[in-house]
Symmetry: C2
Subunit: 412 residues, 2 copies
């Protein structure tokens, strides 16, 4: 494997220019289909053109830069829309990395024949509909969902498309024959790399998420005159279940598993009334379905145990649609590892992504690979989000070198 040089100045300049579009203090406000978002997409389209890519903004505002090389192609990108109070690198980093990898490979005699397509997906951050752009491109966008999709400000998706002049524009669809796969780089949005002093995370999978709402029903009663023996205290059962979940989960999990009891409600919630109802919200995430199954089994056991005493009835229902773990392609991981070993030996690791990304959608159609660079303080979805410039440059080098190796392997 040979290291592919990149143009670090150009990379940083483009990232900083993109940061200026929708800038608010140190952060960026570029929610999908806002004026600043569309401005950024037009600017990206011009950059794609300059890089000699066939540039298109499609019918859902995905910005595509298609290589004029025949392929097989590697698609590289991320999203340029942001959270309502977004950081400057969340999404933008991966898009400009794609652009820089396309340019760098085109400028290198050994790689200039390789086809790198670049993309900025629309609305990964769920202003109207999460991963709208990648779903549309993969042909998995549900029509019903699209009809009801409404922005945080209350605008309908179809009205937004009319407003920005895209209502009659074609939507690009995946050409499965063209692509070897999809690569996306992203800031980590967590602390693993920073804590370990490492520079590159090679994503093994985007974690699956299961969430449950567990309801405990007892009998509301006077807190003075109802003996402890007669009580059917829903909150007592909830506290037991919550504490046992926190005590018993560690024996089942691995170091990357996370779980959260993010809310609990007691009714009627008065100091002098024995609670008749209590409800908690539990969520857990892991890259491995087996771990998720074991955690769910542990919850079921705790609930059965409480139910079996015949005092408190317990219901459990899903708290959200189940998200299955999205495995990244094994061979892509290997190539990214080799690239990381070459460029930054001993300061990289394999890790899951605890946050969601477009590859959750795309991996159902194409092999996917993801790469993380460190986030300062693990902060994201926040104006304070940042990464060190040296880490930003290094990440792009690893991505470019890995991308070239993947395309080389396919015989391009």
């Amino acid at each position: 494997m040979e290291q592919i040089p990149i143009n670090a100045d150009r990379l940083i300049r483009d990232l900083k220019h993109l940061r200026s579009i929708g800038a608010v203090g140190t952060g960026v406000v570029r929610p999908a289909f806002s004026a600043s978002d569309m401005h950024a997409r037009s600017w990206l389209k011009e950059r794609f053109k300059e890089a000699n890519l066939e540039a298109t903004i499609d019918g859902v505002a995905n910005v595509f830069g298609r290589s004029r090389m025949e392929g097989p192609a590697l698609l590289i990108g991320s999203h340029s829309d942001t959270q309502p109070e977004g950081g400057w690198l969340d999404g933008a980093l991966g898009v400009v990395y794609g652009l820089e990898v396309a340019r760098s490979l085109a400028e290198n005699d050994k790689t200039k024949h390789m086809a790198i397509d670049v993309v900025s997906w629309q609305d990964e951050e769920s202003n109207f509909l999460s991963c709208l752009g990648s779903r549309s491109w993969c042909g998995t966008l549900n029509e019903e969902l699209e009809k009801t999709a409404t922005s945080r400000e209350g605008e309908k998706l179809r009205d937004a498309l009319t407003r920005v002049g895209l209502n009659n524009t074609d939507r690009l669809l995946i050409e499965e024959d063209r692509y070897v796969g999809y690569l996306e780089a992203h800031i980590e949005q967590g602390n693993y790399l920073e804590d370990a002093g490492e520079k590159i995370g090679i994503v093994t999978a985007i974690v699956g998420i299961r969430a449950f709402i567990i309801t405990f029903r007892g009998e509301q009663n006077h807190a003075g005159t109802t003996t402890m023996q007669r009580r059917k205290d829903a909150a007592t059962a909830m506290f037991e279940a919550a504490h046992r979940i926190n005590q018993e989960f560690p024996s089942v999990v691995n170091e990357n598993t996370v779980w959260t009891i993010g809310n609990a409600v007691i009714e009627p919630g008065a100091s002098s009334i024995v609670p008749g109802l209590a409800e908690l919200t539990l969520q857990f995430r892991d890259q491995d379905e087996k771990v998720l199954d074991l955690l769910e089994g542990t919850v079921e056991e705790i609930i059965s145990d409480i139910r079996s005493r015949g005092v408190i009835s317990v219901d459990i229902r899903p708290g959200r649609e189940v998200i299955k773990p999205s495995k990244m392609h094994a061979e892509f991981q290997m190539f990214l590892e080799e690239s990381a070993r070459l460029i930054t030996p001993n300061s990289w690791r394999y890790m899951p992504s605890a946050a969601g990304h477009d590859p959750m959608v795309i991996h159902e159609k194409l092999p996917c690979g993801m790469l993380f660079i460190p986030s300062i303080g693990g902060i994201s979805h926040n104006f304070k989000e940042d990464s060190h410039e040296t880490d930003i440059i290094l990440g792009c080098e690893v991505l470019a070198t890995g991308a070239a190796a993947i395309l080389k392997k396919t015989g391009t």
Copy 2:
């Protein structure tokens, strides 16, 4: 000890008449200073007069029936105001018992010289100010409290007094030299007697109440990307504390102790956010200060343990004014026991009162005794509140016989 006969028909007839004033379905709506409350007080005054008592409605609407005997006197009564949706016996029972005991003792040659004063206190149920009437009579009514006292409907106490024509009426004050003490009978408002198939509860003390709000502060964070090791989850600490309270209290308490975690709040309370703050409301009640101290100590130990780990900060503050246990007079308990043994052997018990009553105020000035009769299903503060007629009659017999014995003992 000799059993004092009462007039059961008259007792029940008066109770039923009082029930008709402010009747709503099976319940009674007679909040302090309402038209129905004042109607009931006028009716009681007439009944006191008929019983040859000097009857007065004083400046806070206490209804007094003063015996024409010289004394020492025993004061017997309760309150005739009700909860906004009250039961027919809560308070009323004790007032009519007082009246019936006064009549019965006056009709009996052996006891007709005994001085029984009868009272219906105003606003035990805290429409304007809890135990307004007994506080006023004991001289412990705080002027500041009285100034700010406002009814559930928003009326000021002084306006209510003007409305019912009592603003220029004298308030009766305790004549400590006159009284041997105060007796009050009440429905149990709980299940101990019914569960045990017993007829009489002799109250040992009205329980003390301590309440605390315990606040746990950690760090709000992303529920996906924050590792379990880095988390400062306020809710996890709260669940541990709550469960440990429920697990560790039983080793300190007696069979009558009650404790309740009536509310818990988590902030921000979202499924995907590690909670930064969690707060629980804890209350416990017992008749013994030592038990209350031990419980408070147990809470402090659990909190110290959590604090000592250095992850979550914990604050504890009082959730209400501390209420100390009110001990009933030992000798009165003995006389009531003797009376119960005589009239209903093997179906009485000593027990604390888990609910509050006027003797909490009065026991600071006079020896007090309380007696309970069973509540059907333990229901109170509810239109469904009821007691069996045979139990009502038996309770009055025990009270009359006990009262006569107390006065006999004083040499009257």
